[in-house]
């Protein structure tokens, strides 16, 4: 598949990268047209990843969430900020004096189980890391060493996960981890900026890390039997686990992600519940708080879940796409989880490009045509309509993300579906091309370098051209940014080559329209005038005081070329069209820190030191 090919050539996606190089210009692009029919995707086999590998070998795994949102810029030297660690502990254990127990490997085999349980119980003692980090140092060390030993023990010994261990291990995990998360140290609500604000690290991490690690090894142990464990790892457990995803510490979320992924894989009975609870978290995030730290991780897990969905997709899963994934595009902090979200959406499309039964309609932007509504039977169409509905109005960086995602979607869309959404789609693209934010205009114009998209356009030129032409023509002169001019001329040239006659017609029509425009404005005013008069005849009129006169709608454009004739335009296009460099600038990093706030070295170092349990989540195959 062209899409896959491309993915392989691309450098690993930066989680934060907003601009994706238009890749289709590359050599592989030629095959796009022929190979456009998405074949049923072979179920990706979970393959062992070399742990140190940073590359995504293909798109069979969701893009991992970046641990550190902020790149350490080495900026102004660091002011040590007041406590950047926190932890919400209500009860510390009363008796915190731990006795060092003998090592497991030194004790006789028959006593090991008992000793193991003792050690697990010992680790249920909680220590204070916040108010007095230096307290109980000796006992803290006992606990740390005990945890360390148990991690080793459970990883390397066989037949140690006996039935008696399950409740103890789960209790130890719950006691240590299930806690109310402390208040966010970062500003909440509208002021919260997930890219800018440094995460607060968990103070008790030296212990928590080992607890997580132990539990993960426990779940992964070859002796682990879900059938026994399900008595202890139940819905309540999962709910508490999901609550922790709001933790500010990325290291903690990273562990949680892997653990939840394992639980999802091993406990078939919990799967539906987990998905439902994740949905609730998303709903709350979208419609109530707009604040949650773990969205990217949750989406990463969902990416692997979607990957394993059985075909045909269940109604529930389609609803999830429409009701959860698409509205997630609406939230302000989209940039934090966009790579994972886009991965999920594209996964859906690759799974099943067309559905036979109608998806329940939830998306209906005002200006869609009948065609769009009709295609809601199709996932690809539904997704595009959804994106158009949530298209950002004022947030330009977000708009660039949408354009990135849209191109990925178009890469896998079927021509039949494309033809159904193209009108609203290109109306939006026309707006993007005219955007005064040059990155938005630039990103939209890069579509013209994607050969698959160009082939789709050229198959439907008669309908696309009349929509795009006015925007291109207007901005060919009036856009403030010179780079855009070049790109626009390039696009116009491609159109011209596509269909000479149509291009001429569009030019003609544009001029005719131009003249009618002003006339129509006047007509509209008269129209409302007339209604106003009719309304005045109504005896009730004085009761409903007419709304204050609305501000007239002015069109923003200034001088536009009107006098030029087609020939002139063509000549200019020929001369000005810059041959777009095939390898358009590599992944521009558009992101920069908005402020020069001092960064906390400790936080950054702590995050860099964190080792992921697993670089990529593998697909969880859906049980049939």
């Amino acid at each position: 598949m062209p899409y896959k090919l491309k993915k392989e050539k691309e450098p690993p996606k930066l989680a934060k990268g907003t601009a994706k190089p238009s890749s289709s210009g590359k050599d592989g692009g030629g095959e796009s047209t022929e190979e456009a029919q998405p074949q049923p995707q072979p179920q990706p086999q979970p393959q062992p990843q070399p742990p140190s590998s940073n590359k995504r070998p293909s798109n069979s795994t969701p893009p991992p969430t970046q641990l550190s949102k902020i790149k350490y810029s080495g900026g102004p030297q660091i002011v040590k900020k007041e406590r950047r660690q926190s932890s919400s502990r209500f009860n510390l254990s009363k008796n915190r004096e731990l006795q060092k127990l003998p090592a497991l490997k030194d004790s006789p085999t028959q006593e090991r189980e008992e000793l193991f349980i003792q050690k697990l119980r010992q680790c249920c003692v909680l220590f204070d890391f916040v108010s007095d980090p230096l307290s109980d140092l000796k006992f803290k060390e006992v606990k740390r060493a005990g945890l360390n030993e148990m991690v080793e023990y459970i990883t390397h010994s066989r037949d140690v996960v006996t039935e008696a261990i399950y409740p103890e291990a789960v209790t130890m995990f719950s006691v240590n981890l299930f806690r109310t998360l402390p208040p966010s140290s970062n500003p909440t609500g509208a002021e919260f900026d997930p890219e800018e604000d440094e995460p607060t690290l968990e103070a008790a991490w030296p212990h928590l890390q080992l607890v997580y690690e132990f539990f993960l090894r426990f779940l992964e142990s070859p002796d682990f039997q879900p059938n026994i464990a399900k008595k202890y790892i139940d819905q309540k457990f999962v709910l508490a686990l999901l609550d922790l995803f709001d933790s500010e510490d990325p290291r903690e979320r990273d562990f949680l992600k892997t653990i939840l992924h394992r639980i999802y894989g091993k406990f078939l009975g919990l799967r539906a519940y987990i998905r439902r609870q994740i949905n609730h978290i998303f709903y709350r995030f979208i419609y109530e708080t707009e604040h949650h730290n773990g969205i990217a991780e949750l989406l990463e897990i969902l990416g692997s879940i979607i990957n394993g969905f059985a075909l045909p997709l269940k109604e529930e899963h389609k609803m999830f796409l429409i009701r959860v994934l698409l509205p997630l595009h609406k939230v302000k902090s989209l940039s934090v989880y966009h790579p994972q979200l886009a991965y999920c959406v594209v996964q859906f499309l690759e799974k099943e490009s067309s559905l036979t039964e109608p998806v329940l309609p939830l998306l209906c932007p005002g200006s869609t045509s009948l065609a769009v509504l009709a295609i809601l039977h199709l996932v690809g169409g539904a997704v595009i309509v959804g994106l158009l509905k949530f298209w950002p109005k004022t947030h330009s960086p977000k708009e660039v993300m949408f354009l990135n995602e849209l191109e990925e979607i178009l890469d896998v869309i079927e021509p039949s579906e494309f033809s159904k959404v193209m009108e609203p789609l290109f109306r939006q693209l026309a707006k993007c091309v005219s955007s005064p934010h040059f990155q938005v205009a630039e990103r939209a114009l890069y579509y013209w370098n994607n050969e698959y998209i160009m082939s789709l356009i050229s198959d439907n030129a008669a309908r696309v051209l009349p929509i795009m032409f006015p925007a291109l023509y207007r901005n060919s002169k009036s856009h403030w940014n010179k780079t855009i001019h070049g790109l626009i001329y390039n696009a116009l040239k491609l159109f011209m080559e596509m269909n000479q006659k149509l291009f001429d017609d569009c030019t003609q029509q544009y001029k005719a329209e131009k003249q009618k425009g002003r006339f129509r404005m006047k007509e509209r005013e008269e129209m409302w005038q007339k209604i106003e008069e009719l309304a005045r005849l109504n005896p009730q009129y004085p009761m409903f005081r007419a709304p204050p006169p609305l501000p007239p709608v002015y069109s923003m454009e200034t001088e536009t070329p009107t006098a030029e004739d087609i020939q002139l335009l063509k000549r200019t296009v020929e001369t000005e069209a810059v041959q777009m460099l095939k390898d358009i600038k590599k992944e521009k990093v558009l992101l920069r820190r908005k402020s020069e706030l001092p960064q906390d070295v400790y936080t950054i170092k702590a995050l860099e030191a964190h080792k992921r349990a697993e670089e990529f989540l593998t697909a969880s195959q859906e049980a049939l």
Partner: protein, 688 residues
């Protein structure tokens, strides 16, 4: 006219299933791409000719034919209604030529003209235009008259609006005031179908607005109509498939309950009960937030038998976001119950909430403390709430402590007068003393914002003995916000013990704030200067604070210089022009010779704001202005010209026999002097 289509559909379309604005369309699986040729409205007789049938492919779908189709009512409704809906719903922005129904007037019947215009406007590509059209909905309704509004406009709206949330929001708002336009209370129920659809959309803002409008309309329903139309709507929403409709339903119970018959009341309660135990946390939250409101309209028996169990369940919900909303409901429920019931039914839960393991719940208890205190009455307050409050004041989360600290004054004020002093002295004050040296600055500044209020409650002696040391400690706090909060509330202490007690400590605190490195802190203290000057008196001011005020005039941040100028104006109002002439004017005028052009401009701004008498203006100010009018710096020159015109104007006024020169006759100049404020950054360039 055929039967109002909305009824028609209400009966048919609601199988209890989720209903969205666009529902009908999607259920037609044979729906295809734009139809050509017959089947559309093209061949129907066109009564309202908006514009001639188009030659392009969408001709069958033109709004003209839609309007005509409806207006005629000649075709069997069942046969055409679907296709009509489709047409309207699908109305894509006109890309082809000829959008406006401009030629409309030509054809005889005008009656449907407005709706045709609306349809056409709603197809426009520009959201702003669509929004404008919806905002003029009442005009359209007036033009149509009540009957046509009911039979034509509302069904059209119900069926065809799928739009940007912004447009939907405007629509939801409009419909709330539409009762008069559909023919008064007897017909208010016609407005329900579109609002019902709007109450189920995804976007919270739209949903909330629709619920608000529904609540408004419910009041206008007759009792009969309420039961016949409104209550069924609430039930439908309450049993909707998706959480959006169920959350919307939660807000509607309390408006329809009081006027319903007993049988219906029981049903309503039943529905509310099931929403309180809904599977979706979003719905439980909505229900919990309306629990108090609903309890208020219920009979006392039902409150005890039904609301209290619901409250108990919600207060022990697995999600803390639900539990904290139960605290809010607690306030309303507590007001309804007798003391014994309160003690038996509500207090255990409240005690539990105050010690909840989630800090959010505890925060909520702290935040609602005054309300709770009023609701449960003095006795329970003393036995239960005071200890709970003590715990909140030493909570392990700073957020909770800060919220509790905010309530200290209110709590003390609301205690019964007798015994108040002892309670405060013995049970509250010790905790407050600890908070003064809290580790968290938000806690300290929350306390500082209310602690001064205690002095009026405790009286002079206690204040001097117990509170004063705290005030002084806070005046020396390392956090500027704490000091500012103390200074800003000086008036309370002033009344009780006089400010002199504090002035020794006050001065260093003020000076330190005045020289703080953060300009926002300096700005804040400047704003309290007039107040302080009033309380400390002119002598103290001249002696200690005057130099500070003058120093601010040459601050390197524009905002500070601006504030300092305004400060001078207020001081002059307080101390009179004579004082100004003696103490301020000389210093200000000296700045006119400053090499820094910014300082020269500050002189000009000061001249503009400070009111002086005739001779001073004539003799001292005018020469300076003339000199500055020749300044080498363009900006200074410009503002000198401006100041000259202001002064000239004032001189003219003062010259007149009318003698009240004290009257602040500021010629609208206060603001305008800063016509061209410069950012601090801008200063730097020129200065060096």
């Amino acid at each position: 006219m055929n039967l109002c289509p909305c009824f028609f559909r209400l009966k048919k379309g609601h199988g209890g299933s989720f209903r969205f604005l666009s529902q009908p369309i999607f259920w037609i699986s044979d729906l295809q791409l734009p139809r050509r040729g017959p089947g559309g409205g093209r061949h129907q007789p066109i009564r309202v000719s908006v514009h001639p049938p188009r030659r392009n492919r969408t001709s069958g779908l033109s709004p003209a034919s839609l309007g005509a189709g409806r207006g005629l009512g000649a075709k069997p409704a069942a046969a055409t209604s679907r296709s009509r809906k489709n047409m309207a719903g699908a109305a894509g922005p006109g890309t082809g030529p000829g959008t406006g129904p401009g030629a409309a007037g030509g054809d005889g019947d005008d009656s449907l003209y407005p709706i045709a215009v609306l349809i056409d406007e709603l197809r426009n590509e520009d959201v702003q235009l669509r929004l404008n059209s919806i905002k003029k909905l009442s005009t359209i309704a007036l033009a149509l008259g009540v009957e046509r509004t009911r039979t034509e406009l509302l069904p059209f709206l119900t069926d065809t609006i799928y739009d940007e949330d912004e447009v939907l929001l405007a629509l939801a708002e409009q419909l709330g005031n539409f009762t008069g336009l559909v023919g008064g209370p007897d017909f208010a129920h016609c407005l329900l179908p579109p609002l019902e659809s709007l109450a189920t959309v995804e976007e919270t803002v739209v949903r909330d607005k629709a619920v608000e409008s529904l609540r408004q309309i419910s009041q206008e329903h007759t009792s009969v109509a309420l039961e016949a139309h409104f209550v069924p709507l609430v039930k439908r929403l309450a049993s909707g498939d998706w959480f959006t409709s169920r959350t919307s339903a939660c807000g509607l119970f309390s408006v329809c309950y009081p006027r319903a018959s007993n049988a219906v009341k029981a049903e309503i309660r039943q529905h509310f009960r099931s929403l309180c135990s809904d599977d979706t946390p979003m719905v439980r939250r909505a229900a919990a937030s309306k629990l108090g409101e609903f309890a208020k309209v219920l009979e006392l028996d039902s409150v005890k038998s039904e609301i209290v169990p619901l409250f108990t369940n919600l207060a022990s919900d697995e999600q803390d976001s639900v539990r904290l909303l139960a605290v809010e409901a607690c306030v309303s429920i507590a007001q309804l119950l007798s003391q014994e019931d309160l003690e038996a039914l509500v207090m255990p839960i409240l005690r539990q909430a105050a010690e909840d393991k989630s800090w959010r719940v505890r925060y909520m208890v702290a935040d609602k403390f005054s309300e709770l205190q009023k609701a449960v009455g003095p006795k329970i307050t003393q036995n239960d709430l005071i200890p709970a409050f003590q715990n909140l004041l030493k909570d392990c989360e700073a957020e909770v402590r800060a919220a509790a600290a905010h309530k200290v004054k209110e709590l003390c004020e609301n205690l019964p007068i007798e015994g108040r002093e002892t309670i405060i002295m013995n049970q509250i004050l010790p905790y407050i003393k600890e908070l003064v040296s809290d580790t968290n600055q938000h806690v300290k500044s929350a306390l500082a914002s209310v602690i001064m209020g205690l002095s009026t409650i405790l009286g002079k002696e206690n204040t001097i003995e117990h509170l004063l040391p705290l005030f002084l400690a806070q005046l020396k706090d390392e956090c500027p916000e704490v000091r500012l909060n103390i200074i800003s509330n000086l008036d309370c202490v002033n009344e009780v013990i006089g400010i002199r007690q504090l002035s020794q400590s006050l001065l260093p605190a003020i000076v330190e704030l005045a020289e703080d490195a953060k300009w926002r802190v300096r700005l804040a203290i400047i704003e309290y200067m007039p107040l302080l000057a009033g309380q400390l008196g002119v002598e103290f001011f001249d002696e200690k604070l005057n130099s500070l005020c003058m120093a601010w005039l040459v601050d390197h941040v524009y905002a500070i210089r601006e504030a300092a100028t305004n400060n001078l104006m207020k001081l002059v109002q307080k101390f009179g022009t004579e004082w100004a002439q003696n103490t301020i004017v000389p210093k200000v005028l000296v700045m006119a010779n400053d090499p820094n052009y910014l300082h020269r401009m500050t002189t000009l701004f000061c001249i503009n704001t400070i009111l002086l008498d005739f001779s001073a203006l004539q003799e001292e100010v005018k020469p300076v202005l003339q000199k500055l009018g020749q300044d080498e710096d363009m900006d200074v020159k410009y503002f000198a010209q401006e100041a000259m015109s202001v002064v000239a104007q004032r001189l003219r006024k003062l010259d007149l026999p009318v003698k009240d020169s004290d009257e602040p006759s500021a010629p609208g100049a206060d603001k305008n002097h800063f016509l061209r404020p410069r950012g601090p950054g801008e200063d730097a360039g020129k200065e060096c």
